[in-house]
């Protein structure tokens, strides 16, 4: 997992609880990585999971809730760092449809070892989008948090349902999204 996610997690804990709590979590975690996390670095998924699990224990929040909240926290931060990916779109649907074809392509250009999840889309109607997510990490709640962050960013709440199915012996999550009627999709 990229270091930027670890750095965002540090911000998430520090801003929502305290810097002391993050230091405590860090100290009590047994991580494979000895050095500090930096944005462009790539670190074991297990280290991220260990931090998240320790954080939920420390602050007393359930794991899925914590991961979803972290996803929602991440989106505006990422949009701030990479505004050109977001600001060119008027509607969350337009933006979401560029994740796989634009954003992840750019990520892989910068970090050739990046393991980005795979997204496929179905477009059943103007206010709807079916997003099929496939990743060995299965961070479904993180994806949901990001979707909530997207809705807030565009000031157009997104309602979603999630189902899981198996495709070619690999688990995929299907997010059926419904956008607010007020938002006008330009795609």
């Amino acid at each position: 997992m990229k270091g930027v996610v670890f750095n965002l997690f540090e911000q998430f804990i520090s801003e929502n609880w305290s810097e002391e709590i993050y230091e405590q979590i860090l100290e009590e975690c047994s991580l494979e990585t000895a050095e500090p996390f930096v944005g462009p670095g790539t670190y074991p998924d297990a280290d991220f999971l260990a931090l998240v699990v320790k954080a939920t224990e420390t602050v007393g929040v359930e794991l899925p809730v914590a991961i979803r909240a972290f996803g929602k926290f991440c989106f505006p931060k990422l949009a701030e760092v990479f505004p050109h990916f977001v600001q060119t779109h008027q509607h969350p649907k337009d933006f979401l449809k560029t994740i796989d074809s634009v954003i992840h392509v750019e990520v892989r250009k910068l970090f050739k070892d990046a393991e980005t999840p795979e997204f496929r889309y179905e477009d059943p109607g103007p206010q709807q989008l079916v997003l099929i997510y496939k990743s060995p990490r299965k961070l479904y709640e993180f994806a949901e948090g990001l979707l909530e962050g997207v809705g807030e960013y565009f000031q157009s709440p997104i309602q979603y349902t999630r189902t899981v199915r198996v495709e070619n012996e690999q688990e995929v999550a299907i997010f059926e999204l419904t956008f607010s009627e007020a938002a006008v999709c330009v795609s």
Binding site: E19, E20, E23, Q24, E35, P36, F37, V38, P40, G41
Partner: protein, 462 residues
């Protein structure tokens, strides 16, 4: 228990800076190595293209030159590639073969085309033949973004082909030589007989002339003797003047006729064996066929009569005249051999070879029909294959009809249709474009070629 959070954060931030600096160094080094590898790969591919002996030209979709290799620049007589880049390919490619349409429709190009004969035009206006291959250049998404042309310079090959054709022609002449010697021998014999008769006649006339001279001299001196008159009378009587007066003109006429026959055979042979010029020239097809009939006379005269029906208004066409003579010779000799198989052993029975020419729109048609036994159905699709022959070992090389096909179809963009049956014999119908450079006729030719291919199949199926 955390005692000094700020201190730890600061230490971590300092370490992060160190790590990031190291990452930048690593990335910079990686970038440098990648650039070096790219430069090296670029040089490698450029050196391959530089060392190519073929001409490599990359075209944009609209048909302008995007890049050329050094070999192309040098063979076309230019100093620098910039002189060619951006120019339409028609600046250097002779468009007679109709490639222009391909360049305008690269999207429609179905797969690559291989080794199509064409020619390039150098800066100095010189033309040289090439074998042209091309394939559509496509981007990552499969969309056509140009055309890659690879051309093989075949100037030397063409010279060798020319020499080979000449050698084959000389081989034919060698095979015809005995027959032609016989053809020449007959008139030479009666020319000799008549000349000997004239020699003897002159000997007989000599005394008459001598006595006549004496009589003239004595008459001038004013004294005519009876003796001189008797001398003339005896000489006239001995010489049999009425007989000589009748026979000498006949002998002279026959001699002149014989000389004309020998002369026509020699002239025909000379024209047939002429190496010709490198390129196409304007030629009279009727005349080429006539010459070929003369030089091949001994091949067919014992087994067949040749009947010609030549169109009187046949225009001259641009062609390789020497090569077409070879075509006519091969067809006539084949026809004679086919008839010989039928009439062999039958006294006084001969067949017929009909040779006709006619105009059909933009085409000149030549038909060669024989009354032989036809081509067996099982070998009809093989007759144009090189080295295929049904003749006994040592008498046929299997090159005759292969050469006919090459000369008519490949060299002249013509067509050949063969109709054959055991009852009707075999007809070879050759069609040559009257004006091969006209673009309009190109499409028609392609259409007609298709029609004739179908007709050919139908004819073969008869």
């Amino acid at each position: 228990m955390i005692t000094d959070v700020s201190e730890r954060k600061l230490a971590r931030a300092q370490k992060q800076v160190q790590i990031l600096e190291q990452m930048i160094e690593d990335k910079t080094r990686e970038l440098f190595i990648t650039q070096e590898e790219l430069r090296s790969a670029k040089e490698y591919f450029e050196s391959i293209i530089r060392s190519m002996q073929d001409l490599l030209i990359v075209l944009r979709p609209e048909g302008t030159i995007q890049s050329v290799n050094e070999r192309a620049v040098s063979l076309l007589g230019y100093q620098h590639e910039d002189e060619l880049i951006g120019q339409f390919i028609t600046k250097v490619l002779n468009d007679q073969e109709g490639f222009h349409e391909l360049f305008l429709n690269v999207d429609d190009l179905e797969g690559p085309f291989n080794q199509r004969e064409s020619s390039f035009i150098g800066k100095a206006g010189n033309s040289f033949p090439v074998l042209l291959s091309g394939s559509t250049l496509r981007d990552k998404k499969g969309k056509s973004c140009g055309l890659v042309l690879l051309a093989l310079d075949i100037q030397e090959r063409k010279i060798l082909e020319q020499q080979l054709l000449q050698a084959q022609k000389m081989e034919s002449i060698g095979q015809l030589a005995a027959g032609m010697a016989h053809e020449i021998n007959t008139p030479i014999q009666f020319i000799g007989d008549n000349t000997r008769f004239l020699q003897e006649a002159f000997c007989e006339l000599q005394p008459v002339l001598d006595h006549s001279t004496t009589l003239v001299e004595t008459t001038e001196s004013g004294s005519i003797s009876i003796k001189s008159l008797d001398g003339i009378a005896n000489a006239v009587k001995t010489a049999d003047l009425p007989y000589l007066s009748e026979e000498i003109p006949k002998a002279i006429a026959q001699t002149l006729e014989g000389v004309e026959r020998v002369s026509s055979i020699v002239r025909a042979m000379k024209e047939f064996s002429h190496p010709g010029v490198e390129g196409k020239t304007s030629a009279d097809i009727n005349s080429l066929i006539d010459n070929t009939i003369v030089v091949s006379r001994n091949e067919w005269k014992y087994v067949a009569d040749i009947k010609t029906e030549f169109a009187p208004d046949l225009p001259q066409i641009t062609c390789f005249a020497g090569q077409l003579s070879q075509v006519f010779l091969n067809l006539i000799v084949n026809a004679a051999h086919a008839i010989a198989e039928i009439v062999e052993g039958k006294d006084n029975e001969t067949g017929t070879i009909r040779i006709a020419t006619r105009i059909d729109n933009q085409w000149l048609e030549i038909s060669v029909c024989d009354t032989g036994g036809g081509i067996p159905e099982q070998i009809r699709d093989k007759i144009f294959d090189p080295f295929f022959t049904t003749k006994p070992v040592g008498t046929g090389t299997g090159q005759g009809l292969a050469l006919v096909h090459d000369i008519v179809v490949e060299k002249h963009q013509g067509t050949i249709v063969v109709e054959s049956s055991p009852d009707m014999g075999t007809t070879f119908l050759l069609r040559l474009p009257i004006n091969p450079v006209l673009e309009d006729s190109l499409q028609e030719r392609m259409d007609t070629q298709n029609e004739h291919s179908t007709a050919h199949m139908k004819a073969i199926e008869v």
